[in-house]
Symmetry: none
Subunit: 420 residues, 2 copies
Amino acid sequence: MRCEVLAVGTELLLGQIVDTNSAWIGEELARAGIETYRHVRVGDNQARIVDSMRSLLASSDALIVCGGLGPTPDDVTREAIAEVMNVDLHRDPEIVEFIRALFGSRGREMSGNNERQADVPEGATVIPNPIGTAPGLRCPIGHKVVYAVPGVPYEMQLMMTEHVLPDLLERSGERATIRSRTLKTWGVAESTLAEMIGERVDVQTNPTIAFLARGIEGIAVRVTAKAASEAGAQELLEAEEVALRAILGDLVFAADDETMESVVLGLLRERGLTLGIAESLTGGLVGARICNVPGASDVFRGAVVSYSEGVKRSVLGVTAATQVSEECARQMAEGARKALDADVGLSTTGVAGPDPMDGEPPGVVYFGMQIGDAPAEAVRVQLPGDRERVRQFSAISLLSLLRTRLAAIPPDSPTLPPGG
Amino acid sequence: MRCEVLAVGTELLLGQIVDTNSAWIGEELARAGIETYRHVRVGDNQARIVDSMRSLLASSDALIVCGGLGPTPDDVTREAIAEVMNVDLHRDPEIVEFIRALFGSRGREMSGNNERQADVPEGATVIPNPIGTAPGLRCPIGHKVVYAVPGVPYEMQLMMTEHVLPDLLERSGERATIRSRTLKTWGVAESTLAEMIGERVDVQTNPTIAFLARGIEGIAVRVTAKAASEAGAQELLEAEEVALRAILGDLVFAADDETMESVVLGLLRERGLTLGIAESLTGGLVGARICNVPGASDVFRGAVVSYSEGVKRSVLGVTAATQVSEECARQMAEGARKALDADVGLSTTGVAGPDPMDGEPPGVVYFGMQIGDAPAEAVRVQLPGDRERVRQFSAISLLSLLRTRLAAIPPDSPTLPPGG
């Protein structure tokens, strides 16, 4: 069973709206075990909608057309479907009344335009839209089927969940359950991952394994399993996860919805440690990431964004001669612990660019870290990219650094080991 | 001249990544006056990539293929293009060396896989990638052309701007100069904008006017003018900008590359004021936005992320009984001025959710502001959305609040007016 997706709307081609509907539909189809090979976007042009429908239907069993069901003259999906079905449109009086009532309930007059939304191709059945004026359409074409759903995400999602997906599953007679798990890696090139687990990626058909580049967030390894039952799918996933973790080990920092910051907060919590941060280069990015984790407040004390040298000295007690140096990074970490009364102190200082600073080129960043009363340590890195990239990359690099250091401390350790 | 877009990646079909690249490319093509009729997404499957390339090329002059240039075995865009061109791939030793050097500069070993990224179809020319390992490709096919660009947005955008778009314009023989200007509005609904300038949007053909929804960043009004010369285009743009600003007035907070934070920094600089921030709810987001503006350091002193109550009291001197209150917001703003030795103090405190706090529901946020020695003021708002949205929305709301307050202060005012 294969179902393709056609998104209709000139605003999609012009980039005025990002086509999130196709992504949502694609995810739901995959979850339902229905294959999808091609997603197409066309503008509000009947001839091109017809062409795309024909070419997509030629190589698949079903097609979901999303958008172009509005009341305005440029909404021509209904006409396009009638042309492909080679039938006429008839106006359904019940739908006209439903739309009129909907307008009435909102204290508005129905415009003549809206009657067009009651036009139904001969032989098609109506998919009710309880929350909008645009009904959906289920249109059999030979042994294939076309579903028309509105472009309004919430209305589309309701119709997909309650009508289209169940109908597709019934047609496919498919009973398989598809589940996936994502293992997140950071600080390793995709090519290196491919060499470590490439064989499993190439050979396996169930579960399948794919790499997902996540930009500064690293590279995710997605495992997707298909089985007759939920339990069977989970069993396949768990077996594969064990095998992959055995190979990738510490490179995997999180799974599924976990993030670098949620993992770091968890490690701190397990060890009963609180966190304080001094941010210069990152200007608050590290704190902002951490605060996005619900419940962060039991571990995260706060941060000092010491963007000016004066604040570094007055609030953090930095005495280092230069702001971009190991000494400054160490003193900032120490100052963060003191000023924020935290067990663990972190710091970032460096050159975001575009200009050099303290004799260092853009991209040079120093990370400082002090855990307990152990001596503060500092790490120097040279990061690629522009100002924004250097800062974003610095934030996750610092969290990753803390993660690996914390992982080396047993949760039940009575005292903290010396740093360095 | 028509150019279509083919996005390659199974993760796009499965909805694990939303295809924002095609939207970005579509917007740039429209801006350049190049038509685009169909955008297609296919998975990492050579046969289907080849089919889609052929069908898209059949009805257009040019095609941009985005993605599938990575080092792993499932990246087969290079092979697909060679098949469509009906030529062999040859490995370019210069590119191999460039990639090896790139790895070296990051202190990493290049894996054998990466050499695949140096494969070039016979007759294609390489589009350099200064910031990544995947070079782009310019592939003539008869009198048509296929461009291959990486799926990493940042790398793709650089190649599009510097190589693909100029090359397309040259091929199109387009002599007209197309320029656009974006007026950014914030805090007003699209329907309201449409009522204010809808007529100009509907009637005008040159310059054209379009609304671009920018999420929490507001709604942009993009003016695009076409003329025989640069000067002519600029003249049209300026005339339209004057007309639009006359209608929209203060709703326009920035133009083109300006951001809310760059505008606020400019207003502070003109008035010789320095800024200090106390962030609770936003956790560093406001500071992070401000630090992303080059040269922020001459105005921005820093921030205190007082996520824990203890830090509010010890570092900022807050005495308010509850952390989510007008009094706390005012005291945080005052504390930020003192602790960071700044002229202007800002603060955020509130409930990001999911749980209520201090008897306030999620979404309730207090903003504090103190300008000079005037009494600190506080504003209470109730924001929609989830945790992340509430925090992001709070950051820009606070900056917008400061912008309007500063705009009311003449740049040359000897003394600061009372707040409140």
